[in-house]
Amino acid sequence: MRRKTASAAAAGAVLALVLSACGGGGGTPQEPGAKGADAVKQEFNAGLTKVFNPSTKKGGTLKYAHSGNWDSLDPGDTYYGYSFNFGRYYWRTLTTYKPVPGPEGNQVVPDLAEALGVPGDEGKTWTYKLKSGLKFEDGTPITSKDVAYAVARSFDKEVFAHGPSYLNELLDWPKDYKGAIKDKDADIKSAIETPDDQTIVFKLKKPFASFDYIVQMPMTAPVPQAKDTGAKYQEHVISSGPYMFETNEIDKRFTLVRNPNWDPATDPNRPALPDKIEVQLQVNADDLDNRLIAGDIHVDIPGTGMQPAALGKVLPDPALKGRTDNPTIPRLWFISVIPDVAPLNDVHCRRAVQYAADKVSNQTAYGGEFSGGEIATNVMPPGISGQEKFDPYPSAGFKGDVAKAKEELAACGKPDGFETIMSFRADRPREKALAEAMEQSLAKVGIKLTLKGFPASDYFSNYAGNPEYVKKNGIGLAAHGWGSDWPDGYGFLQAIIDSRTIRDAGNYNLSVKNTDVDKLVDQASAELDQTAREKLWVDADKKVMEDASILPVLWAKSLLMRGQGVTNQFYNEGQSMYDYSMLGVQ
């Protein structure tokens, strides 16, 4: 049984196409190919609100490239947005983002499950029922046990260190549980139950409202226990999606081909257009842009936008600019204003920093309006459901308010300013430029910054995210960035504003240590009513801004280029990049 909301969503143009692709009638199939290319007008932001170059034509090879590496191809061991997006070629999860352009793309729809989760016990249990006819690539049927096993194995962070640990924390696991690999026969009924092969019940420690968002993450992608090879599973993941691995050279390249045992009838979300998918890894970033422009490759996997060198080439050229989309993504670039370090322990000194910052100069430093983003005035980015925009520290033209900053400095007892240190990730040129811009604008009010770069790989473990180091070395400001795992308040805010998450090292909340904020976080996470919940998150946002411990810089935007000859391309808000599972080639 499909829930009403899900089938109602099928009104979108895409879904119509999908249905027709799946063999269902209805809709007029568009003729792809040469005519399609002419029929579609290349236009800036053409892929933001509607499907660009729609087509149902199957076949061809879709070519992807990546300037770096996956953390892991294993669904239980990966934590990159592009990996969640791309992985849907070879895995299916209980739910997934609705494959449509526009705000609706933030909604989750069932994937393996017949319907969205049914909460019980006021949000403490979540029950999903699997569709029938689901099969792995080797033809064995997919049961709820395989999903349960996948979740239980991903518990083992010794083997799967990279993946998110939401389910480790949310579910009520037995004491001293070590994961399905080490504790093969442990009883985990307290956390997951599979009363039959179609049903899976998750049992939480405390109520949690956004659980449907959690289970769209690949921890719920089924893994057949018999084929699990632990840390080596990423070398050949057993596919539950429309494609499966043909070759896989870790860190170099891999190819996917059609999975004969995937039944389109069970999967309204994926049209599975190309016959083959090729992925090249570790391609030089500038070269990647050039090849994307030239049409040698179709998609830049990370979906974080083009390199600065390409901006200079693309933006002034109307033809090239017309091939780009420039979405705002649910990511905030910001500066942590750390209250552990005197004189920033005084809220007035923190507010002085808020007022003194020249947001325009910060924006330019961070890549400008197209590849950097929109000037941010509060914590939550626009893409988050229920977000409100407000500016508690306004200034003319966002250029900073020197007078107000000086007032705050006086209130803080430092009328002539003070000295502090700003940290940034040395291997991120934009953060470096941001730090330099801050140094310039704060100097105008007498706040002298010393800049320190640290390796990105150790930034949170050893330096900025290590409270002891921060205190000992007097780091007052830290460049930071945060993207949401799913587009609601919890997904975005919890990790960076809840002071109780702060531990000895590896923190992402560097500066928000406010009990009022913590209280709001607790209230909001337990609130099952969406509107009330969203309101509470906005309150939390306001509280943080009042506390002035986060200096928002930009709501990130990325300049994405549509591939030459790619069909069905659009920006999906849930994935915050193009929806990869929809793409086809002419």
Binding site: N69, D71, S72, D77, T78, Y79, D156, K157, E158, V159, A161, H162, G163, P164, S165, N168, E169, I181, K182, D228, T229, G230, A231, K232, Q234, I250, D251, K252, Q282, V283, N284, D286, D287, N290, R291, D427, P455, S457, D458, F460, S461, N462, N466, Y469, A495, R503, D504, A505, G506, Y508
Partner: protein, 337 residues
Amino acid sequence: MLTYVIRRLIGAVAMLVVVSMVTFAIFFVVPQLAGATPEAFASRYVGRAATPETVQLIAERLGFNDPVVVQYARFAKGIVVGAEYDYGTGVEHCPVPCLGYSFLNQQPVWPDLLDRMPVTFSLALGAAIIWLIAGVSTGVVSALRRGSFFDRLAMGTALAGVSLPIFFTGMVTLVVFSYGLNLTAPGGSWTDFGENPGEWAYNLILPWITLAFLFAATYARLTRAGMLETMGEDYIRTARAKGLREREVVVKHGLRAALTPILTLFGLDFGLLIGGAVLTESTYSLPGLGKYAIDAIANNDLPKVMGVTLLTACFVVLASLIVDLLYAVVDPRVRLS
């Protein structure tokens, strides 16, 4: 001869041990002096938003809780007798020389190195051929026409060559020849020789020439100096007094002797280069050992850094051994003992 080789090999092993210890120390002892804890090490290799428990587990699994000496011994043991790698659902035997598994993506290091070697080797080989031919011939002509216009032009160019940082020339050549004129392959292009020799050469021609220019400059200057020195030797006068033709005097008597010290330098240069041309590979984004080393350092992936460092040291040691053996063949005065 055989005892000499054996003795040298023992020395080489000792040297590799020292090199590996120093590498290990740089990565473990230095940060520890700066106050890094086992968890701090481990937190580099977990995903974002990892819990303290995850960090603890990884610290334990990667052995960061053990004393550095124990960690080093484990690493060394892997090379000599191999190691067992527990991938969760089973155990894999990592055969000798087991350089360990990447902390980051759990891939064994040794196959990675084998994979990267052809790239660096191709780069070094092509460049070496070009720079030897260009450098030595320029040096010889310069020496013979000392003070001429050619000499001054060649030596001026050579000096400019040694004064240019390769990351600058690399960038300029890429922008001009690849992105501008579209004559050569863009950065990051690599094709295996076995796959398509033509494309292999096409992709490498720019790095070859840039790298060769740098070295050719050095070699031209050295050859010229060497030729000037040998051409002033008594035996050259003897050769002339015998009535030999000038060409024979230059090639058979002069160049033969002048090339011997160049052979030594070439051995060392080539050895270092096949261990990874860090800057060239970074500039042209070639997936060779040098790029591998830089990436590994950036990711703090110690097993990879250890592997590539040891491999480079091996190449250098091996190259110097080969050079010494060759030297004994070329120069009969040299006795290996």
